[in-house]
């Protein structure tokens, strides 16, 4: 830990003692879960470095950006149209909220029977342990779940928060509402930054974000190979890091990784035996450093080949049309793209069922694991329909409900072992 970092954290108002405990815990966990894996692509070195200095170098970059008079905008959800943020010369950063560490802090205020993601994110702010939150000028929330919606009201007492309204249905009326929300968000960002968003700027931003999505698609497609050339854990980490790393650098690094992984596929090299059971994970998001389910699956002999999740395909499958046009036309294209995210906050949301079945086939999976954060009611209830859809296709499903803590790892291992015995 460099003195540079400590000074920066002090200036950001970080609770140093608590923050030290968090970072000291992360090292051994990362060693155990990531560095102990065999035959990792060399290209993962960059991502190891980024995690090794998780609250250092990237925060310095964001701080520098802020000191130069620019803005940093923190988000929690893939519904926030980041093109608009980039177009105003602000930097969006996807906050993590994936650790048990900040949950007890949040429980001093929030109800216990709230999902771990909500508690973790709130705890980071309340406990002053996340330099990304501290660096940001605005937190953008959204209405994808009732728990978050209400948490944002309380979070707003600590830091400026703006909430985008995501509709709950996919009707024409809902689409109009969403478009007007996207337009309003542009106004919010323009006022925050003092920069007007031009058609040219917006088009550049769209191309940048699309390019990152394309590289993530590229990596995802490489996981279709058998044997699989990269572990699910590593692929998960890449997408997790892409939420807060510099977009241009991220694109370069992911592409370099893909080149290497591609040559592995050509050579028929894999990180798991060709007959290792292939798993699609579907459901709630996995924010960094939530690697729990991937780790359990991959240490039980399975390999995760795809995530139908906000950390996976829902984040990068669809691109915004690059046809350009006026600012209004481009905002329309942006709104259209984001309405295609098949989140369980919508009713009905049968497109997600189609996605799961399609991905299960495309990635030739042996089974689907439905991952549900405890108290995430939308995904828990939608799992009933997921189960029916998969049963119709003869695709085995294991439903898991869990949180960030380790107390249920034994039970989860029993389920996972039995599931793998069943599908092998």
């Amino acid at each position: 830990m460099t003195t540079d970092n400590v000074q920066m954290w002090t200036e950001l108002g970080i609770d140093l003692e608590r923050h030290d405990t968090l970072l000291n815990a992360l090292g051994p966990i990362y060693q155990d879960i990531y560095l102990s894996q065999k035959n990792r692509p060399e290209g993962m070195g960059f991502f190891d470095f980024v995690v090794g200095d998780i609250h250092g170098i990237r925060v310095h970059e964001l701080r520098k950006h802020a000191i130069e008079g620019n803005k940093v905008v923190a988000t929690y959800c893939v519904f926030v149209p980041e093109e608009i943020v980039w177009a105003a010369d602000a930097i969006p950063v996807g906050l993590c909220a994936g650790t048990q560490f900040s949950v007890p802090i949040a429980e001093e205020v929030l109800p216990r029977n709230t999902c771990a993601l909500i508690k973790s994110s709130f705890g980071f702010k309340l406990g002053r342990i996340c330099p990304y939150v501290q660096t940001s000028h605005l937190i953008v929330g959204e209405t994808t779940c009732d728990g978050k919606k209400k948490m944002f009201e309380i979070l707003g007492e600590y830091q400026p928060v703006y909430v985008i309204e995501v509709p709950n249905k996919k009707t024409d009326f809902s689409r109009k509402l969403w478009l007007s929300e996207v337009i309003a968000f542009k106004g919010v960002i323009e006022r925050l930054t003092g920069n007007g968003i031009t058609a040219d700027k917006l088009s550049q931003a769209t191309k940048l974000v699309n390019e990152r999505r394309r590289t993530l698609q590229r990596l995802s497609n490489l996981r279709k190979a058998r044997p699989v050339p990269i572990s699910g854990k590593d692929a998960l980490l890449v997408t997790q890091v892409s939420f807060y790393d510099d977009a241009t650098r991220c694109i370069q690094q992911v592409n370099a990784l893909c080149d290497e992984v591609e040559s592995r596929v050509t050579a028929g090299e894999g990180v798991f035996p060709a007959d290792a059971p292939r798993i699609l994970i579907s459901g709630s998001p996995m924010a960094i450093p939530n690697w729990k389910l991937h780790h359990i699956l991959e240490t039980a002999g399975a390999v995760v080949v795809c995530e139908e999740s906000c950390i996976g395909t829902r984040n990068f499958s669809d691109l915004v049309s690059e046809n350009g046009g006026t600012v209004e036309e481009q905002l329309g294209a942006i709104a259209e793209r984001y309405m295609n995210i098949h989140c369980a906050c919508f009713t009905p949301n049968d497109e997600r069922l189609d996605d799961i079945v399609r991905l299960a086939k495309e990635y030739q999976v042996d089974g689907v694991v439905h991952y549900n954060l405890q108290f995430c009611h939308t995904y828990a209830n939608e799992a009933v329909k997921v189960e029916r859809a998969l049963e119709k296709e003869g695709i085995p499903l294991l439903r898991i409900e869990t949180d960030y803590s380790d107390e249920d790892v034994g039970q989860l291992r029993t389920r996972v072992d039995a599931f793998l015995e069943m599908i092998r």
């Binding site: 405890q374 409900e401 869990t402 949180d403 249920d408 034994g410 039970q411 291992r413 029993t414 389920r415 072992d417 039995a418 599931f419 793998l420 015995e421 069943m422 092998r424």
Partner: protein, 249 residues
């Protein structure tokens, strides 16, 4: 186990050091094959050797061996409860397990027996002696315990409370069974199957006569022993593979 007869059997509490417990058990015992199952299987197997089988797999094999027409297994053990659906061939088709809490497990009954000041083995008979029943609304062990304490404070008979507890747990287990759309024969195994009241209530709620084997708490151990022995067990493919590997090494 040899040729289907049990040569030796020991039931011990896990204790605080399951690895040492297992080592003690194996001292002075000779065996041809070893299979480890249950919680702690991944802790024990790397040290003492043996193949690892999940208890879901082990219960499936064990129940199927005892009752070749078994299609559904209910296992209410100490730490969790499970329901397993088997195919005609005896392969695991589907299973359900309780989520993240002790509701519907042996642990729940144990805590409640303590609160009612009876032994765990007497709890079922106490419930069967009840002349009335009180409704227990909570299935969370912690909440249910405080609910029981307030029922005691209200002067309710402990037998009526015990019956209410059994009703609650049986409803929960039966719900889990119905979720997998059970087929007969249904075998009820695990330590809690020794509880006559629970057996009776689960049968009633399902409308199916549920079979409890002799010594239901060792069905998983029998299954594991069968996997170790190899042979004609109609388990899933992995069980057969395990058997094949064991036979060839």
């Amino acid at each position: 186990m040899f040729d289907g007869s049990i040569l030796d059997l020991a039931i011990l509490e896990t204790g605080v050091n399951p690895l040492r417990r297992c080592q003690q058990l194996l001292t002075d015992r000779s065996y041809e094959g070893l299979v480890v199952t249950g919680y702690g299987r991944h802790l024990v197997a790397p040290t003492i050797g043996g193949r690892v089988v999940s208890e879901i797999g082990a219960y499936a094999v064990g129940a199927r061996y005892l009752y070749p027409d078994c299609r559904t297994v209910i296992d209410v053990g100490g730490q969790d409860s499970k329901v397993i659906l088997l195919s005609d061939e005896g392969e695991v088709q589907k299973f359900e397990m309780n989520d993240r809490c002790a509701a519907g497990t042996g642990k729940f009954l144990e805590v409640m027996a303590n609160t009612l000041e009876v032994g765990i083995e007497e709890l079922g008979d106490l419930a069967l002696s009840a002349s009335k029943v009180v409704q227990i609304n909570s299935l969370c062990t912690v909440f249910a315990e405080s609910e029981v304490v307030s029922l005691i404070a209200r002067g309710e008979e402990s037998s009526a409370i015990a019956l209410g507890l059994h009703q609650a747990i049986a409803t929960r287990v039966a719900g889990m069974v119905r979720r997998i759309r059970p087929k007969e024969r249904v075998v009820f195994a695990g330590g809690a199957a020794l509880n006559r009241c629970l057996h009776q209530l689960i049968s009633e709620k399902l409308g199916i006569e549920v079979t409890v084997p002799h010594k239901p708490q060792i069905v998983g151990a029998i299954g594991a022993a069968l996997v170790a022995r190899g042979g004609e067990v109609g388990g899933g493919q992995v069980i057969r593979e395990t058997v094949n590997t064991l036979m060839s090494t």
